[in-house]
Amino acid sequence: MSNSKRITLQQAAEIIKDGSSLTFSGFTIWRRPMAIVYELIRQSRRGLHLIEVQGGSETEFLVGAGCVDIWESCWVGHELYGKYGANLSRKVAEKKIVVEDYSHAEMLFRFAAAASGAPYAITQTSLGTDIHNPEYDMLGRAGLRDGTRIAKHKYQFTEDPFYGAGSLVLVPAAKVDIAVLCVQQVGEEGTVRVNGQYYSDPEIARAADITIVMAEEIVPEEYLRRNADQNTIATFEVDHILECPFGAHPTGMFGKYDVDGAFLKEFYTNTRTQEGYDAFAKEWIHGLDHISYLEKLGWPRMLELRANTAMNYSPREKKGGN
């Protein structure tokens, strides 16, 4: 193919401009595109609007670095390695970030709507909760609901006219500039094969205007096309591809490597303060590139995390991150 989709890690981060809206593959601490997240931090990206089905370690790294102005999602933390998002929590207290809360299913259905070209989704989740409290429309309070990329309303209520199913909440499609995915395999032309749970990757890839796929390996397109029914995302939904082995570290990748729990626990423990964050970033992000990051992590650590082929996870990794 003449029109190669290949780019470098640095170029991937450069596609994401100051002020872009952004979403990520994966789930909490699994398959997050951390190598690109690190590069965004190195490049001092500012004013990002994260729209995430749910947050995780990638959120905390970006928020701590001051890259994020708006976070629209439902959850942040590092699972058992850090039970909440200390950086987000700090920025919220300091009013340095706008947080818009939806429920997990609402966020998912918002992306599913966008992916199927619908302006909104209907659901019956979370009725009666403060998620639907009109006082808590934070993007509205911030005067950002202009109806272009950010919807005019946080939600609307209606009744089912067809079967009398009762109250429904309408939630707007998640319109997002760029989706950044981190997966096991991508073909030269952009076909993606995700192994294991695919989380909300198909929806975010289709919803975003630009989709960047970072893979453990770029494989011959023909190899993936031999079993088209095992592929997850089609070529034309992917704009740019890059190969970056261990690009999800410290988050995990099904079939490749486990979550680096000790790393996340250290991050969580040390980044409750901005000073702690800055020190962590100085050690692990700034002044490094992906290879020197891997070298700093070292072989013993990465071999510990390596997944067993028969099990798709590491039988050697001591869970709990101790």
């Binding site: 789930f27 999602s73 989740t125 009725l127 639907h132 009762g166 989380y199 709990g320």
Partner: protein, 272 residues
């Protein structure tokens, strides 16, 4: 024959895990969250509910993990499952009404079972931003029953939660915010609500009609009056059935030898 363990053989986490496990019926479809709930459900699967079907929010359907996953996104979820998919499937299945039981946690709860996992203090000027809703309101909205496992402190069993993250039996009707019975709002999606709160002091249930919490059983060592003082609202202790059954020795063996030998979620507090 099941033999109850003696008090020195188990810890509080064991008691909560086993009490939670007893909430599961056989053949049920259960939405399993990360942590202690996952151990409780897998314990039920090993004991009285061999045909229960596990759903993990991240996309695993009818999962049978050979070892305890560290979270619902874990690679361990997929092994041996009927289907590995994504969140669209998990939440669609829930909204479609397949889910009998969900297990959840919370930071605060009120008398109606409204649970908060979002923030402490005024939402617009929070003292502390917590982790957020996650799938808590979604699982709770759609399942026929939900069970919450919580630390019991007076500051957590409150008159009004700082933020209703997950709907109880009486919820706010917007835009006004007046409390109405959940049934009034949920229409076709109304299938039930919180069926039990398992705290570190006792097991609490709800009167479906008036939507109020009442004390069902006290954990060993706790009394109804003592528990009542640990609630900011006026807890109904008139319906107490007795003491929460302690774990059996079989259950303890399964938890510590088979399900969570590495003490990821349940510490071996009593060395034997």
């Amino acid at each position: 024959m099941s033999v109850y363990a003696s008090p020195e053989e188990y810890g509080l986490a064991d008691l909560l895990c086993c009490a939670a496990s007893h909430e599961v019926l056989d053949n049920e479809i259960v939405f399993a969250g990360t942590g202690l709930p996952m151990v409780a459900i897998m314990l039920a699967q090993q004991t009285h509910a061999p045909n229960l079907k596990l759903i993990f929010e991240a996309g695993t359907l009818d999962g049978r993990p050979p070892e305890i996953p560290t979270s619902v996104g874990d690679a361990r979820c997929e092994m041996g499952a009927s289907r590995s998919s994504g969140l669209y499937d998990a939440f669609s299945i829930a909204q479609r009404g397949y889910v009998d039981l969900g297990f959840l946690g919370g930071a605060e709860v009120d008398r109606y079972g409204n649970v908060n996992t979002t923030c402490i203090g005024d939402y617009l000027n929070p003292e502390l931003r917590l982790t957020g809703s996650g799938g808590n309101p979604d699982i709770n909205s759609f399942a026929s029953r939900t069970v919450f496992i919580m630390v019991h402190e007076k500051r957590r069993f409150v008159e009004n939660v700082s933020y209703i993250t997950s709907p109880g039996w009486r919820v706010k009707k917007w835009p006004g915010g007046e409390f109405v019975h959940r049934r009034e709002l949920y229409g076709a999606a109304y299938r039930g609500g919180p069926s039990a709160i398992i705290s570190t002091l006792g097991v609490f249930r709800f009167d479906e009609q008036d939507g109020h919490m009442y004390l069902d059983t006290c954990h060993p060592g706790a009394t109804p009056d003592a528990i009542k003082t640990q609630c900011q609202f006026d807890l109904d202790i008139s319906r107490v059935k007795g003491e929460t059954p302690p774990p059996t020795t079989d259950e303890l063996r399964l938890v510590h030898e088979l399900l969570d030998p590495d003490e990821i979620f349940i510490p071996k507090t009593k060395k034997s």
